[in-house]
Structure formats: structure tokens, C-alpha cells
């Protein structure tokens, strides 16, 4: 096995202000335990008990994790359900929380997802609310896993546009990173 410097890895985590990170198969069991860990860590980090922020972080975290679960190209059947793998990281500084998730998708899916993010970043809060309500009332498309409103919900809950990055893995595969900034309410 390649040599590994635990101290510098630790240093990197501390300097990057990482509260929680996970890389691997996002099974439902893993997600539930990450949610528990996250709640515990935020409780310790945030003595004022800002329930409002914790609820939002929790909600955005679950949507990002379930995006990995449903849409990652690296997937296998766990407990009878197609389950994707990827990475999710939460960082915290004085002013905000930053939630970031990433997973492999096809070049074609990345192109579509990029367009969808760009479209969702345009509307104002009221227009976004209407879009959300429309999606809630629309029949679920047979192909789409999840409700298709997760990204709208993330923008509405964070009050910030979606930031994304696309990096090539190989000819057919791209790594799609989604970042959400959640400013702290002071």
C-alpha cells in the first residue's frame, strides 16, 4: 500500500475546516448514520443551538447525498436498490457553511445537468417558488428517480445559486461537483 501521512491528512482536514466528509457508496444506512453524526457535530460546534441553520444544513445535506445515491455512474444494488457512490463534504468557517458533493456521470448527463443548473439559477425567489409548485403538481416522469425538485429546494433553502464544476475523468465520464453556500445568520 502507498505510504500515507496521517498527520498531514489531519492538518489538511483542519485547515480546510471540514466538519464531515464521506467518500464511497451512499447506501441509505450510511446516509442515516451520517445525518446522526452531522447533528451531533453541529450540536457541539454550535452552542447557541441554532435550530434554524441545522434544519437547513440537514435538508441540503440529504438532497445532495440522495443525488449521489440516485445519479452516480458508479453504482451497485444494495438492499435491492440501485445505490450510487460519490463524495460529500461539509465545511464551516465564521460566516458560512459550504456543502459540496461530487460523483461521476456520463458526458451527456453532465451537459444536461449543467443546463438544468443554469436554468434554475436565473429565476428570482417568487419565480422559483412557482416552479417548485409546478413540479410538485406535475406527474412524475417515469425515467426520473427522485422528485426532480431537489435542486430547486436546495436553492430555495440556501438562498444562493448552485455552483458547479465539471472535470473530465475519461472520454466517457465526467466528475460533477455541486457546491452550496449557506450563510450563517448572525
Amino acid at each position: 500500500m502507498k505510504s500515507f501521512d496521517l498527520l498531514s491528512f489531519r492538518q489538511e482536514i483542519i485547515e480546510s475546516k471540514i466538519v464531515l466528509s464521506f467518500e464511497g457508496k451512499m447506501s441509505q444506512g450510511v446516509l442515516v448514520s451520517l445525518v446522526d453524526t452531522l447533528k451531533e457535530k453541529l450540536k457541539v460546534n454550535d452552542q447557541d443551538g441554532k435550530q434554524y441553520m441545522i434544519r437547513k444544513i440537514f435538508a441540503i445535506f440529504v438532497e445532495l447525498a440522495q443525488n449521489i445515491q440516485n445519479h452516480s455512474l458508479e453504482s451497485e444494488i444494495i438492499d435491492g436498490l440501485e445505490t450510487g457512490a460519490g463524495i460529500i463534504v461539509i465545511r464551516e468557517d465564521e460566516d458560512s457553511f459550504m456543502l459540496t458533493s461530487g460523483n461521476n456521470i456520463t458526458v451527456d448527463a453532465a451537459k444536461k445537468l449543467k443546463q438544468y443548473c443554469d436554468e434554475l439559477n436565473k429565476p428570482n425567489a417568487d419565480e422559483l417558488k412557482n416552479l417548485y409548485k409546478q413540479q410538485l403538481r406535475s406527474e412524475r416522469s417515469k425515467e426520473a428517480k427522485g422528485a426532480g425538485i431537489g435542486l430547486i429546494d436546495i436553492i430555495r433553502k440556501s438562498g444562493n445559486p448552485l455552483k458547479y464544476e465539471i472535470q473530465a475523468v475519461d472520454k466517457k465520464t465526467q466528475f460533477f461537483t455541486l457546491s452550496v453556500n449557506l450563510p450563517k445568520v448572525h
Partner: protein, 124 residues
């Protein structure tokens, strides 16, 4: 016709559907991997109740968190109740939310809009 009772899990709601009283209680958090799979027995129970009992329904909701796919499933369920209400049946929804929980209050408000059935938002 049977009652439907599902114990809460860390990622699913507590469910009690009582065919004698017509009261449905959903409580807790919901973010399972397959929300449609979780909600299916609740939809089925409702269809059986409508067919076999056909009386009044009260839906009491005490939700702390719904992921978006669960939100969609719950909306479809309430939409079915709205349809039932429009056939002249007595249907009532009580949406309880924790006093400072703006997100769940907002979800309740968004559900309430465009619905004709009696739909109350109550803080606790």
C-alpha cells in the same frame, strides 16, 4: 378492512390509519431512498377506505422533515384527499408545525394553496 400502523424509523414516518375513526396520523421525518415504495401502502389503505368505508377523513400531520421525493409523495396523497373531498365527502387536514420551523410551515402553506378542502396550519 384493516388499520395500518407503521412504526417510525430514523428515515421514515410513524403512520397510523384508523378505519373506524377515519383518522390518519403521520408524524416524524421522511427521507427514505425510495419514497414511493414507503408511501404505497398508505395510498392503498386510502383507496380501500374510500371503497369500503367511504366516510369522513381527518389527516393529522406532525412533520419535522421531508426530503423532496417524500414531499412529492405526500402532496399526491393530499391531492387524492382533495379529489375525495370534491365528491362531497367530509375531509379535514391539520398541519402541525414546530413554532419556529419556518421551512415546514412554508411547505404546509404551499400545500394549502390551491386546495379547497379544509386545511389548517397549527403551531405547537
Amino acid at each position: 378492512m384493516n388499520n395500518l400502523t407503521l412504526s417510525p424509523a430514523k428515515d421514515t414516518l410513524s403512520v397510523i390509519c384508523n378505519h373506524q375513526t377515519g383518522v390518519i396520523e403521520l408524524e416524524g421525518v421522511s427521507y427514505p431512498q425510495d419514497a414511493a415504495d414507503f408511501f404505497n401502502p398508505i395510498y392503498e389503505w386510502l383507496e380501500n377506505y374510500i371503497d369500503q368505508v367511504g366516510a369522513a377523513i381527518t389527516l393529522n400531520l406532525r412533520i419535522n422533515y421531508l426530503n423532496t421525493s417524500s414531499t412529492k409523495c405526500l402532496f399526491d396523497f393530499i391531492d387524492r384527499l382533495e379529489e375525495y373531498y370534491k365528491t362531497g365527502q367530509e375531509v379535514k387536514i391539520n398541519w402541525y408545525y414546530e413554532q419556529d420551523d419556518e421551512d415546514i410551515k412554508e411547505t404546509g402553506l404551499e400545500f394549502q394553496e390551491d386546495m379547497e378542502l379544509p386545511f389548517e396550519l397549527l403551531s405547537y
